[in-house]
Symmetry: C2
Subunit: 201 residues, 2 copies
């Protein structure tokens, strides 16, 4: 802002809100105003919620998921199928797969992908614990659900190699046409993959 | 989410973030994760900033603006021209006009517009203080900068009537083509207004 128009506390709040993904400077100002106008209903509860989340958040020592308990809610859920481990890049992927209720087993969060460019080797990722978990007698399938990017696929290949000695079966997500997707808007790679993996009706 | 997958503190944080304007359930989850992953750099400072803003925010008794000091930063700025009062609907409008550095004087925030439909009469708005401020001998122009909506214009007409006895001159924002706007995309009302208010080159 060209001139100082509000107290520094509000300016600081706007600056911090603008750092959230999905909020730019303009929407951060709108969010700040909305918070201030709804002090009892929103600002105060959000302050408390942030404080509590901040104080309690831990990384699950078993799977690398983020939660307020360790082991995380998923790892300690007795209804989960302990024979399946689904390997993902980030915690956000766990949440996405859970929304789809697509995984009966537990997860393992790598915390990223191998990337020669960014200097991320196997040591930087949460791979050691995965190899240990794969040795457990009850585990018989590891689903590698990484992104369909170059880095993701490189990581998937590396993991498949590393998991070979454990004798556990390793699978990956299917490539194909997204549900609801229109062929006309899809890239050639996806179309070729979908065609190749075609299934009988 | 179909199943309980994280501790309730994180769920609660997501629910509250989703109430911010510009954030839906999906972006709220992304924002929550981003906050948790950047605890020291973002989550903790935001907790503090929210707490401080929440503790200090007050409405300016002079103009109705929201700030952490009363009178607000603008009302107490000695460089402001005290002969001009710019009347706006909401605090967000003050911020917008300040970004444009369009107002030399001070502001008066109504807190909304007259609306028969929503049962908002003059008593619900911050109009009494405006009429009192208009009586001050140093005030000689009141700019009514309300939205160009039916409610805004109704409010503007009402205020003009109310301000007549004070003898102060009352003006409104110009209607016309937005800077950078293309005629082809403008509505007929704006085009007609811009044509009628045409100015010599």
């Amino acid at each position: 802002m060209p001139r100082q128009i509000t107290g520094s506390e509000i300016e600081r709040l706007i600056q911090l809100l603008a750092k959230l993904p999905g909020l730019g400077p303009r929407s951060a100002r709108r969010a700040a105003l909305h918070l201030i106008k709804n002090k009892d209903r929103l600002l105060d509860p959000l302050t408390t919620a942030l404080g509590e989340a901040g104080a309690k958040v831990v990384e699950c020592t078993n799977c690398g998921n983020i939660d307020t308990v360790d082991p995380c809610t998923i790892c300690s859920d007795p209804r989960r199928d302990t024979s399946i481990i689904c390997v993902v890049e980030e915690v956000g992927d766990v949440w996405a797969l859970e929304r789809a209720a697509a995984v009966k087993g537990s997860y393992h969060v790598l915390g990223g992908t191998l990337s020669a460019l960014e200097g991320i080797g196997p040591e930087e990722l949460n791979i050691g614990t995965l190899l240990m978990r794969a040795e457990a007698p009850e585990v018989n399938e590891i689903i590698i659900a990484v992104n369909a990017t170059v880095e993701g696929q490189t990581t998937a290949h590396y993991l498949t190699d590393q998991l070979k000695p454990s004798g556990v079966s390793v699978s990956r997500l299917a490539h194909g046409v997204p549900v609801g997707g229109e062929l006309d808007y899809l890239d050639e790679g996806t179309l070729a993959a979908a065609m190749q993996a075609r299934r009988p009706f």
